[in-house]
């Protein structure tokens, strides 16, 4: 039997899916074991048990000075920045994308501008943002917005243009105005794409968030990681990295479920 026709059975598939995770864990455990055997005070690869203890402490015990549990405070601060930025970027890109995709007058005006804008490296703008918006929340949210909006806008505009011309003509012969075509023909068909775009830009959004927090913040997941770096607190950093990964994964999964629930017509043909 050819290799391309070999499909794993269900249990084998689960095992294969778990395999890379297990391998990484074992490799880490072995590495840290070797280093700790040579030097019990080694900070670079803390034992899994140390990380677990640290994680439990971070999630449950309050800060000695303020009594707040810092991890939850950081999570709350970072998530509200991230979700705020994503929400603003999604709204902006949907509005501009629809206008550019549907109205040739605006397409002539905006498409070149957006194309140039999307080439500006957002992190290079960070100093400007700090100068203009100060070191508070605004500059971090704006960085996320600037970072992901142009790409989402261009993609959505293209999706609107990809709607078959036949459908647009058909809607017109049914008496639809430009507004009705936007609301009832274009919008419902690009909304799934908008959610897909948000999913795709989650990675960049986290990148911009952590970069902004690393440079200037007093609370946040990225801030904490860069703060404890000074003490070589690998156990804390690793806990935070795993936690951020879990948060990102859950967000992505939730958006995927939303697409399946909200747009049943997407799967009608399958």
């Amino acid at each position: 039997m050819r290799l391309i026709n070999r499909k794993p059975s269900r249990p084998l598939a689960v095992f294969l899916a778990a395999l890379p995770f297990v391998i990484v864990l074992i490799a880490y455990a072995a590495g840290s074991e070797i280093r700790l055997a040579a030097n019990p005070a080694d900070k670079l690869l803390p034992a899994l048990s140390t990380i677990q203890d640290t994680a439990v402490r971070l999630f449950t015990e309050g800060d000695r000075r303020s009594g707040d549990i810092l991890l939850w405070k950081d999570t709350w601060a970072s998530l509200s920045r991230l979700l705020g930025g994503l929400a603003i970027a999604a709204t902006l890109s949907l509005l501009i994308g629809m206008v550019v995709g549907l109205l040739p007058l605006f397409r002539s005006t905006l498409s070149g501008f957006v194309a140039v804008l999307s080439m500006v490296p957002p992190l290079a703008l960070l100093p400007i943002l700090f100068i203009v918006f100060g070191l508070g929340e605004t500059s971090k949210v704006v960085l996320i917005v600037i970072g992901i909006t142009p790409f989402m806008t261009r993609d959505l505009a293209q999706r609107v243009l990809d709607i078959p011309h036949e459908q647009i003509v058909k809607a017109q012969t049914l008496g639809a105005s430009s507004l009705v075509i936007a609301l009832r023909v274009a919008l419902p068909q690009v909304l799934p794409r908008l959610i897909a775009n948000v999913r795709l830009s989650l990675g960049s959004a986290w990148l911009f968030l952590i970069a902004a927090e690393a440079v200037a913040a007093d609370v946040g997941l990225g801030y904490r990681i860069f703060l404890v770096r000074r003490y070589l607190a690998m156990d804390v950093i690793l806990t935070y990295v795993v936690w951020i990964t879990i948060l990102a994964f859950v967000l992505d999964w939730a958006l995927k479920q939303l697409t399946r629930k909200a747009f049943p017509w997407m799967e009608a043909g399958l």
């Binding site: 078959p164 036949e166 459908q167 003509v169 058909k170 809607a171 017109q172 012969t173 049914l174 008496g175 639809a176 105005s177 507004l179 009705v180 609301l183 009832r184 023909v185 419902p188 068909q189 747009f263 049943p264 017509w265 009608a268 043909g269």
Partner: protein, 263 residues
């Protein structure tokens, strides 16, 4: 006074003539089939009728009205594909036929209920009431085209334009669709233009069959001349002319016989 008047239409893209000097008079209720080789401008002519594009020269009017500058409700259309909205269920697609002409495209309350009832009537007429709640993607090609025709009809157009509506269907389904279309036409008495690749289909359904072709051809510059209507067949009565001439001119029947010449 004809219903659809086409006067001296000329259309060119980038200086290449597609169709030229097309003149046509179509009476209300006529079924006009349009045939011709690929790229001869049949579909361009249909888009001009639809007012999806404007001719370089000439004008098209329906019932003596204004020249349309964009697609309007008066002229319904069914394309070969993509004619229905994939994000709406079968019933919603039919309700859209009425709802899209409102300000925000939505019908509410009593109006929606009435539209839903009319949609259900149309569904039973086009034989799709068993799939009313499904999305178009789960329907077969023939069912999708029936839905597209039904949707076009809910807007009550005065002229129905069909762009190879059965081109993507298998032969069996195609015959069923012919019967379906003939029935609908007998009920509604609409003026229909149908572009087709299938000569048999064109003669079977049409009252008239127009053939588009290039009467002039410049071998050095093939784009110089466009296509025009080169044949205009009367396709009624199996394509044999004058079969019903006595119905139309009954006086011909009682022409007195010539007097015998007296001996």
């Amino acid at each position: 006074m004809s219903f659809v008047e086409v006067r001296d239409i000329w259309q060119a893209y980038d200086g290449r003539s597609i169709i030229e000097r097309v003149n046509l008079d179509v009476a209300e209720g006529e079924f006009v089939s349009i045939v011709g080789a690929s790229g001869c401008g049949k579909s361009t002519f249909l888009r001009l009728l639809l007012a999806d594009e404007r001719p370089v020269r000439g004008k098209i009017t329906v019932d003596g009205g204004e020249v349309a500058v964009e697609p309007v409700r008066e002229r319904g259309v069914v394309f070969q594909r993509y004619s229905v909205f994939p994000h709406l269920t079968v019933r919603e697609n039919l309700i859209a036929g009425e709802g899209f002409s409102t300000r925000f495209g939505w019908l509410g309350g009593a109006a929606r209920k009435a539209a839903a009832e009319r949609a259900d009537e149309m569904l039973s007429r086009i034989g799709l009431n068993h799939v009313a709640g499904q999305y178009p993607a789960s329907l077969s090609g023939g069912m999708q085209q029936r839905l597209a025709i039904g949707q076009a009809l809910t807007a009550r157009p005065r002229v129905l334009l069909l762009d190879e509506p059965f081109g993507a269907l298998d032969p069996g389904t195609r015959v069923q669709m012919h019967e379906f279309l003939s029935e609908l036409r007998a009920e509604t008495k609409m003026t229909v233009f149908m572009v087709s690749h299938d000569l048999e289909e064109a003669f079977k359904l049409g009252d008239r069959v127009l053939v588009f072709d290039k009467p002039r051809w410049d071998p050095q510059d093939p784009g110089l001349y466009g296509a025009t209507v080169t044949y205009d067949f009367d396709a009624r009565d199996g394509g044999m002319p004058f079969q019903s001439i006595l119905d139309r001119y009954p006086s011909l029947a009682d022409t007195p016989k010539a007097e015998p010449i007296p001996a």
